[in-house]
Amino acid sequence: MSDDVRSVLLSGVGGQGVVLASRIVADVLICAGYDVKQSEVHGMAQRGGSVSSHIRFGSKVASPLVPLGSAEVLAAFEWAEALRWLPFVRPGGAVVADVRRIVPPGACGDRKDWLTSYPALNAEVIGPQTVKQRFVDATAVATELGNAKAANSVILGVIAGFIGVPDHIWETSIARFVPPRTVDLNLAAFREGREAPPVDLKPEPTREDVATVGPPRIELEQSWCKDCGICPRVCPEFCLAMDARGKLQIVDADACTGCRLCEMLCPDFAITIHRDEPALAPGGVT
């Protein structure tokens, strides 16, 4: 056992290439003469879930997992995934975060106040425990070079600045692991990352202000309805259903968001959605 063991944590979203990037980092550290353990989780995490990879190196590594509060570098390929792993960063450690946002559909789930649960781009939440913060727009840098897919090599370039292994070792490893046709692109991306200027976090684009629109009310004119079954097939909130006798029923009026799909698609004008003032105009609110 040795107490010279250092830890790097890579995080991102399934499909971003976290695993390949961490294999490159591990290879670099092996070539630099360290004992290395590298650990990630496969499986369901690959289906758009959160992915992390623990890399530990030194003269002799014991635990393959990074203990809390001990990572020297946290490199996140996506903003929300930087926040998730912050408790693993040691005081004085470095947080490298791509300002890219991958908003999962589940963050767009609230159909009452319509607020997303995705965290704001805000340097302050990274907190005072880390003295070094580097925010990069790796996708923009890579796109400038001709291919957004080289973004991970940009981040590797930033990480290299914190680890202290000569650049030529990094470049040899990158060339070994990336697809042969993309070697030049990825090496250029790595060098850009070494020099990449930090990005200042701009204020969030905020949703346009929403005028208060009253709660919707569904009015069903039974005598006009011929129970054709169109509206219960389309209602996004499952407010409408056919009963056992094949008659249309309003089964969950409270869930109605007033989207008017039923009103628009009813061939018999039997449904009207009422809302309190102000009245609508297509394309926005008054």
């Binding site: 499986g43 289906r47 879930g49 999962p104 949703r207 929403v210």
Partner: protein, 589 residues
């Protein structure tokens, strides 16, 4: 450069299999075991094959072993439940050439339905179990397992976990041994397990355990790292490294074999330390055995019995035991978004599940990617228990009379071939009022896209005959079999509505391939004409990762946009969009 290479635990097991001169390897894919066979598939000296399920894989490996060829069967932990029938009696028959069964466990359930501790299978069957802690040991123990198997005429269980199988570490490559197949010699008293023969074999199993105990007392599988005599720790598997991390000065007895146990060595070690701990993942398997043997140890009163251990859990356990200084709980990180796994953009499972939700079906689900339909916004799965269980459970739900809606079993092509066919025969035999929806995407998608007997391709990529699902369903007696395109929402709705409204068993088979494997399918992406979007959220109900809210709203509801880098052009959202605001990018294709 030295001769060390960075290998995952699974790659290291595969390397051990190669170095041990194994001739036959069979497996069914299952996280975290899948990469063992995938790594071996490149071998030209070995017969390496996917089996339709774990029991068949073990049957093949046992048969090959009796034929005199060193053999491997690999599976995830729950796969051993499927193979248990063979496993239990293989302990009686013993082996011809070496037979090793790899069971890859999943403490913490990163990708599993339970976290059962398969060491109990070793005790139940009376076979030895080895637990490597890292990649080097994964390779070494694999070779040792084959030696033990032949020396003691027993199958050997090699047990890994997600952390061992998927951790990469440096491994020094060894030489490849040559073990030509020795041939089959008929020995009915040993291999035909009728009661008369089996009664003679059981005492042999028990005697073998005594001999294995003597072996492990003297084996390098049992090792001592002398240290501080005040604290002695018995470590098993990956927990060894966590103990090394947080208590580098402790006296450590490392167990490479956790059944049978080297009790004399442990007693002697216990006498040299003041306090004795056992640190092991999941159940108190070693701890209970030591307590039964009258050895005083501390264990699960300090360390969690659920989930994966790690350096922090082990630190906190020793802090709770008064060995280490307690430390304050970590500062919680800032709030961030919940990121659950999802069905991919363009997944052919999305449409059928959105329709089952619309039909108010009671859905008995199964194991595979489509289990993700249980999560919001689809939220269309009511049960998921074990491979192939969906069909029998659906028949039971229908028989109960307690299901307030049509009962549908949903099962993937590979899961159906693995364990679904007997359930379908039962549904026919018992005239169950259920619909079986076979989601045929032509691959084992959840584990990364492996071949199976229905794909017409072998592990090596060679052509093979493929199972005809329609003919199979008809042959077991289902008259009502319909194949439908799951990208055609109207047709899928019509077919499922009709099938679920008819009495008796029916089968609906979808026919679109997985968008990720064996080839990535990417068509012209779609885009949203923002002015036309009424923000109705109907497309958001699909849970497609390509569709997200924008900052533009209508009556307070966010309009949506499509990420063209993720969209596969499957057209599902466009089919749903009433105002036709979702259109192919760059005009009609």
């Amino acid at each position: 450069m030295d001769s060390r290479v960075l290998l995952s635990g699974n790659e290291a097991i595969a390397r051990g299999v190669v170095e041990a001169g194994v001739r036959v390897a069979a497996a069914y894919p299952g996280t975290p075991s899948t990469e063992i066979l995938e790594t071996l598939s490149r071998s030209d000296t070995m017969d390496v094959r996917w089996s339709p399920n774990e029991k068949v894989a073990l049957d093949v490996a046992l048969g090959a072993s009796l034929g005199g060829a060193r053999s491997l069967a690999a599976m995830k932990h729950v796969g051993l439940n499927v193979a248990a029938d063979t496993f239990m009696t293989a302990a009686y028959t013993g082996v011809g050439a070496g037979l090793v069964v790899v069971s890859a466990g999943d403490p913490g359930m990163h990708s599993s339905q339970n976290e059962q501790d398969n060491r109990y299978y070793a005790r139940l069957a009376g076979v030895p179990v080895l637990e490597p802690s890292d990649s080097t040991e994964a390779r070494d123990f694999t070779k040792t397992a084959f030696e033990i198997s032949e020396e003691f005429d027993t199958p050997v269980l090699l047990l890994t976990t997600t952390r061992v199988s998927h951790n990469r570490g440096l491994v020094e490559l060894g030489d490849v041994e040559d073990h030509p197949a020795t041939g089959f010699s008929s020995d009915p008293a040993k291999y035909v397990m009728i009661p008369t023969h089996a009664r003679m074999r059981h005492p042999i199993v028990i005697d073998r355990l005594d001999r294995l105990t003597k072996y492990v007392e003297a084996s390098p599988l049992t090792s001592i790292e002398p240290g501080d005599p005040r604290i002695g720790v018995i470590t098993v598997g990956v927990a060894h490294h966590y103990v090394n991390e947080v208590l580098p000065d402790a006296s450590i007895l490392k167990l490479g074999m956790s059944h049978p146990l080297p009790l004399d060595t442990i007693r002697a070690f216990a006498a040299t330390v003041e306090r004795l701990f056992v640190v092991e993942e999941l159940e108190p398997f070693v701890e209970d055995a030591l307590l039964t043997a009258g050895i005083t140890v501390e264990g699960k009163q300090h360390f969690p019995r659920t989930g994966e251990l790690g350096p922090d859990a082990v630190y906190d356990g020793f802090a709770g035991a008064g060995v280490l200084d307690p430390r304050p709980p970590p500062e919680p990180g800032p709030e961030t978004v919940v990121r659950r796994p999802l069905l991919c953009a363009g997944c052919p499972h999305t449409g059928p599940f959105s329709i089952l939700k619309r039909l108010g079906a009671i859905v008995a689900g199964d194991i595979g990617c489509y289990t993700l339909a249980a999560l919001p916004p689809l939220s269309t799965m009511d049960t998921c228990v074990a491979m192939g269980s969906s069909i029998g459970m659906a028949a039971g739900l229908a028989a109960s009379g307690g299901a307030a809606g049509p009962v549908v079993a949903t099962i993937g092509d590979s899961t159906f071939l693995h364990g679904g066919i007997p359930g379908l025969m039962d549904a026919v035999y018992s005239k169950a009022d259920i619909t079986v929806l076979i989601l045929d995407n032509g691959t084992v998608a959840m584990t990364g896209g492996q071949e199976h007997p229905g794909t017409g391709v072998t592990l090596q990529g060679d052509d093979s005959p493929s199972v005809d699902l329609v003919a199979l369903c008809r042959s077991v007696g289902v008259d009502d079999v319909v194949v439908v395109d799951p990208y055609d929402l109207a047709a899928t709705h019509r077919v499922l509505a009709a099938a679920t409204s008819r009495p008796g068993p029916s089968v609906v088979i979808t026919n679109r391939p997985c968008v990720e494997a064996p080839v990535k399918i990417r068509d012209n992406p779609f885009e949203v004409v923002t002015d036309d979007c009424t923000a109705c959220q109907l497309c958001m109900n699909l849970g497609c990762p390509a569709i997200v809210w924008t900052t533009e709203t209508l009556e307070g509801r966010p309009k949506v946009t499509i990420d063209p880098d993720i969209c596969t052009g499957c057209t599902l959202c466009a089919q749903l969009c009433a105002p036709a605001a979702i259109v192919p990018m760059g005009g009609p294709s």
